[in-house]
Symmetry: C2
DNA sequence: TTAATTTCGGATATCTATTGACCGTTATTA
DNA sequence: TAATAACGGTCAATAGATATCCGAAATTAA
């Protein structure tokens, strides 16, 4: 059982987008360069975030992606479900309805106890993910990241956002830290 | 993200084995017939349970599988990990160490905050699974299963265990309910 | 209006993990 | 000795994850 790698990318991207000043956006190209990950596949995952209304997108020059709402209101569960869907990991195949001791399907009212137990465990997992917001992830990153990396990231971001075609960047001085 | 189907099979098998009287065993063939699942792949999964010391095996006529210890002391987590291994679903690929703002590897002491958060959620999932024993799963099955199915299953089991080659079955009358 | 940029959606290819079958070996029983 | 049954390895088929490409639509700037 292995989790979609796009989930890791999506969380990192959202955390980075949470650093941007209002109205500013980053293109797929910029994001894939910042994280050094495959551009086309990242594009697919960002589209999923867009459909889930976690990020909003703008086409054309200076366009790109930004968070669709406050980072405080985006949970890790939102992102995981946007990328991976809402199907549970455990899928009950109704084994109990097969084999020599099976009964007609109408006789099975309650869902299988094994399935209920497995799904309850997944619920505990989701509950944990729901508790954590992108804002917290962002702040965790700031406090734990080497200051020199923060500076490097800041400089890179500023250079990208100041490029001729990006909106909301004319002369804006800002810091990654707030 | 989809869970190994063998896990569902393994839990059902262990729950059934928990019904057997002492010393009795069921072969792969019997188990695959009871649940109507592919014999060869089930065999693979039972071997994994055997290596994990969740079931014990006996070769030769009358051999097969039985629980290696009391059903109370086998948790769903034991089974999940036996079949699926112990690797976490979420694998951190250290994205933060890539791209234009990366630093030399030695500068990253603590593990990535995103990874820690994701792994903590998985821990909550495992904690839930650890709480549930095969004994509870078995009892859940008994109380929730249609009495007529219980009877059918019982009859099937008795017929299999009374077959000439099975051990510990000579004249033993027992019930699935206890 | 035109050219450049950028997301969107579909189609498709590639890689990897899961699912499943097969076979020779070994241990056990009758 | 013959039959049973787990064991371990290899291999094939399928499904899922990863990745690329392309045409279309929208937006911006010149």
């Amino acid at each position: 059982m292995k989790m979609n790698e796009g989930i890791e990318w999506a969380i990192h991207c959202c955390s980075l987008l949470a650093h941007l000043p209002d109205k500013a956006a980053l293109s797929v190209g910029a994001l894939s360069e910042f994280f050094d990950i495959p551009q086309t596949y990242l594009a697919k995952n960002l589209q999923l975030l867009s459909r889930a209304k976690i990020v909003s997108s703008a086409k054309g020059p200076g366009g790109g992606y930004r968070l669709a709402r406050n980072a405080r209101n985006i949970s890790l569960l939102d992102i995981v479900q946007a990328i991976d869907g809402r199907d549970p990991c455990f899928r009950c195949t109704e084994i109990r309805q097969r084999g020599p001791s099976a009964l007609p399907p109408s006789r099975y009212r309650k869902p299988c106890g094994i399935a209920r137990t497995m799904l309850k465990a997944e619920q505990a997992w989701r509950d944990e993910l729901r508790k954590v917001s992108i804002l917290e992830i962002k702040e965790l990153g700031i406090t734990e990241t080497n200051p020199s990396q923060t500076r490097k990231a800041e400089e890179w971001l500023i250079s990208v956002l100041r490029s001729p075609l990006s909106k909301g960047s004319s002369g804006t001085i800002y810091t990654l830290q707030k």
